[in-house]
């Protein structure tokens, strides 16, 4: 046991001292801090756009559209009436104004827009999704109103028909309505996926690198003369796992603090206005059960993948070979990522349930599902049980491959040879 402890300590101390650990640990919270602080700062500096309506209509629609745009908070609008035949020439001269930064862009409308719904916007801000959506919504409403007006509908009725509809989403968890919105659930599921995927991959690869290092430097020969291969393997995985827990612990702890204390953080950036702005942003609730689930799946998932990565490392002779040979293992880990949108769209669907039970995908799929929607506890425990049993099996196989592989140099073993190692 003291020997395993020595291996754990070495892995832990050496990994924690590396630059990437320190940088990663600091950078994680900075990013999370940014995630909370950025919307506040952004809200403060709302951008104002200056656009022109190049009006080639004869019905006064251009004027009404320009009024509607001008009423929008972030838009300063000016009307440029023009004859239909001179439309392109006028557009060219406005383009000069855009280049001179007098304008952000201009909207070209003709009477045809009422019938075919087509208008054109030219400007420097076309890649801003927010700007384009604002313009499109305003244009659509104006065209909609114009069409109704032409059909002789009372303008008052048109106005009433255009009152904005807003949908507030609140999540039900354990029979209680929470203040968590749909967006917040998505945010939490997304954060879970990102952290688990990065952490399992990152630390799994760390285990692999550590085994490859010992093999290529031939330190392993001295190690296995003093340690049973399984002592070496388990010490290594536990050591790297401890590093992972420490780093994730710092990240998650920081995330929880910055979510819980977000108003305090907001005050650091300014006065009441920002705090109010922040209160309106819905943030996910992260109860302890969720955190416990997250760490359980991280640990089991990490052990599972670390075992596989270690077996891969034991089969190869160099870092470069390891990078190639790891592909099948990484693919397994990528599956839940590729299918994540499917899980989020239908967290109770057959695919989501299957992925959260299959041991190779459950370490990521189950926490994502859990964050998105309530999951029956029986499924959670079932998934954990399947994962644990698989883990034991994989560790047994990985241990046998590791035992033989770390002392083998030369050709990479084929499947048949691997089976012989495992039977060994």
């Amino acid at each position: 046991m003291n020997k395993i402890w020595a291996v754990i300590r070495r892995e832990f101390v050496e990994k924690v001292r590396t630059k990437w650990f320190i940088i990663g640990t600091v950078l994680g919270p900075v990013l999370m801090f940014g995630l909370v602080a950025l919307p506040i700062l952004m809200a403060d500096k709302e951008t104002h756009r200056s656009v022109a309506v190049l009006d080639a209509t004869a019905t006064g629609f251009g004027e009404r559209l320009a009024d509607a745009l001008d009423r929008a908070d972030a838009l300063a609008t000016r009307l440029v009436p023009v004859d239909l035949v001179e439309l392109e020439d006028a557009a060219d001269s406005l383009a000069v104004a855009v280049t001179a930064k007098e304008l952000d862009g201009f909207l070209m409308v003709t009477d045809a827009v009422i019938d075919d719904g087509r208008a054109e916007y030219r400007g420097t801000n076309v890649s801003s999704l927010t700007d384009m959506r604002t313009l499109e919504v305003l244009l659509r409403n104006a065209v909609f109103a114009e069409r109704l007006r032409r059909e002789g509908v009372d303008p008052a009725v048109v106005n009433r028909a255009q009152i904005r509809v807003g949908l507030t989403t609140k999540k039900i968890r354990e029979g209680k309505v929470t203040e968590e919105s749909g967006e917040a659930s998505f945010f939490l599921a997304y954060a879970m996926w990102l952290l688990l995927y990065i952490a399992i991959l990152l630390y799994g690869v760390q285990v692999m690198g550590s085994v490859v290092e010992e093999k290529t430097t031939r330190v392993v020969e001295v190690l296995v003369s003093s340690l049973k291969p399984f002592q070496l393997l388990s010490g290594k995985i536990l050591g790297v796992g401890a590093v992972g827990l420490l780093q994730l612990g710092i990240w998650v702890g920081f995330a929880k603090i910055s979510l819980d204390k977000r108003e305090v953080i907001a005050r650091m950036f300014g006065g009441g206005e920002e705090v109010a702005a922040l209160a309106s942003i819905s943030m996910p609730e992260v109860p302890l059960a969720t955190i416990a689930l997250f760490f359980s799946y991280f640990l089991l998932g990490f052990f599972l993948y670390a075992g596989m990565f270690a077996a891969v490392a034991a089969m190869v002779n160099s870092e470069a070979e390891a990078r190639q040979a790891q592909t099948p293992v990484v693919m397994l880990l990528v599956i839940p990522t590729v299918l994540m949108i499917g899980i989020l769209n239908n967290p109770d669907g057959a695919m989501a349930i299957a992925l959260s039970l299959i041991p190779f995908t459950s370490p990521i799929a189950m926490p994502v599902r859990w964050a998105a929607a309530p999951v029956p506890l029986i499924e959670v425990f079932g998934s954990l049980a399947i994962l644990t049993v698989t883990l034991v099996g994989i560790m047994w196989v990985a241990g046998r491959i590791f035992r033989v592989g770390i002392l083998m140099y030369g050709k990479k073993p084929g499947v048949r040879e691997l089976i012989r190692w495992v039977r060994g």
Binding site: N2, K3, A6, V13, T217, R218, S226
Partner: protein, 318 residues
């Protein structure tokens, strides 16, 4: 201290896919001895040593360490093993790496640090204690590997080709340290294909070739068994003039002729004086005529065969 052999192999056999690396190997390393495991490259020396260390398991036969059944890993506190393929953690600080390697052999960290510091000082590396292994020259790394082998004060040292790849200075340091430890009572088992070295250091040897034992026993006994009829002859202006004497099978069984010098094995029952007469009769002006013990090298060549021996010499000369 008991008189039980420190290492005992009984009829050990190890197959790898396609070939037999060690066949029916038996050897006994007495306590306090310096034991040489000799053989050409590919003879199975490293495989035998790895089985002794418990890194590989024998297919047949049994291995006893210190008279018991414990494996090399269980007994690692009592054994210092220097593998043929040696490595170090490149990015660790020297003293921390030594502490770790001692720790997995059951030494307490604090004690390991003290002993490590003493050894680093002894081999002239005390300025490098806090440096990374990567910063050390190759010669220094070899010293560090050796320190890692002996730091925990083992009763048994197992050194696989300890002198290969060492520069002459380090080779000397290594030899001196091994002799010093042996005098202090440490049992040393080492493998080599350089016979001259084994001849100077060992008091018992086992020569193996193609996985099987060829010669086994105390060095003096081995020499006596193979000795008594060896003559070293040196002739002015070369031995070509006495070539016909060497070819006389009534006198000479085999002559190993180097041109100016020859090692001659006489035919059974021939008195050295008869050979002397023969040489003088051929008109040779002798500069040397010595009744000699055979060198280990000679025994090795006689027993293992010229081809294998040549391969060993070529490898050794690299």
């Amino acid at each position: 201290m008991s008189n039980e052999p420190v290492v005992e192999l009984r009829a050990v056999t190890k197959h790898f896919s396609g070939h037999t690396a060690v066949r029916d190997l038996s050897l006994t390393v007495p306590r306090g001895s310096v034991y040489g495991l000799l053989g050409p490259n590919g003879a199975g020396k490293s495989t035998a040593i790895r089985m002794i260390m418990g890194i590989l398991l024998p297919d047949e036969g049994s291995i006893a360490l210190f008279g018991g059944r414990g494996s090399g890993q269980d007994l690692s506190a009592r054994i210092g093993y220097l593998p043929e393929e040696r490595g170090l953690y490149k990015k660790m600080k020297l003293i921390e790496m030594l502490m770790f390697l001692a720790e997995i052999r059951g030494v307490n960290r604090r004690v390991a640090k003290q002993k490590g510091t003493i050894w680093l000082e002894k081999l002239g590396l005390s300025d490098w204690t806090e440096k990374k292994v990567d910063d050390l020259s190759k010669g220094m790394q070899q010293k560090v590997q050796f320190i890692a082998t002996v730091l925990h004060g083992p009763e048994l040292l197992i050194l696989d080709e300890p002198f290969s790849g060492l520069d002459p200075v380090n080779s000397q340091v290594m030899k001196d340290t091994v002799v010093e430890l042996a005098r202090a009572g440490t049992t040393v088992l080492f493998s080599t294909h350089i016979m001259e070295q084994a001849e100077k250091l060992c008091d018992a040897v086992c020569i193996i070739a193609r996985g099987a034992t060829v010669v086994n026993g105390a060095l003096a006994d081995v020499k006596r068994e193979h000795g008594g009829n060896h003559i070293i002859v040196s002739v002015e202006r070369g031995t070509a003039s006495v070539d016909h004497v060497f070819k006389d099978r009534a006198l000479v069984r085999h002559a190993d002729d180097y041109g100016n010098y020859a090692e001659v094995e006489m035919a059974d029952g021939v008195d050295p004086q008869q050979l002397l007469h023969g040489l003088l009769g051929a008109g040779a002006r002798l500069t040397k005529f010595e009744v000699a013990e055979p060198t280990l090298h000679k025994i090795f060549i006689d027993k293992v065969g010229p081809e294998a021996a040549k391969a060993a010499v070529v490898e050794g000369g690299k």
